[in-house]
Amino acid sequence: TNGSDVPPAGTPLAEFLQQLEDYTPTIPDTVTGYYLNRTGFDASDPRVVRMISLAAQKFISDIANDALQHCKMRGSGQSSRKVGKDKRYTLTMEDLTPALSEYGINVKKPYYFT
């Protein structure tokens, strides 16, 4: 578990298992376990639950990162007006929609949601 090299393609899963032992995902195990149990998944092995938590986190992080890039690109046109200020990035649907469409997900803002 030392070093930051990419593991060789031969046995990545066994090594990955070892690393998951001391990895704490942001999503609590119990919360992921609840959603898994609802689908009939017997989530008794904590490592399996953690791997799913990790995958879900990566999924959301990747989308959020894409949205951030959209947000930065959109903001770069206007930034000439207020240079020197700390930029605060806001996650909006305006950025999220193009990020999601790259994943093939089309979201529409519901009309009733304010």
Binding site: F16, T26, Y35, F41, A55, L68
Partner: protein, 110 residues
Amino acid sequence: MTSTGNSSLCAARRKAVSTCVAALCCDVGFHEADKIALETLTEMIQSYITELGRSAQTYCELSGRTEPMLNDVAVSLIEMGTDLAALTMHAKKSQRVLIQPQEQMRPPVT
């Protein structure tokens, strides 16, 4: 099966997931977020976990077992188009917002 169930248990889990999504967005570099965007991501992560669980369970039962192993999850992830090596790299990222696990007051009713 809707992810926005009426029961208070659903709401509790949903709140936790919503906090996690917000933490992940902070981690990526956002400072604030619209409610609807967070709700969208919350809904998506719920669907993702549910779909991954369903798929892994199906692969598990296909090979005659009842308890899903890591291999079943790995196959499901590959089928869903996730790069497992990238997953490992993602896990190694050091700067993460951690939500401290709470003391369990009573056994969960499921």
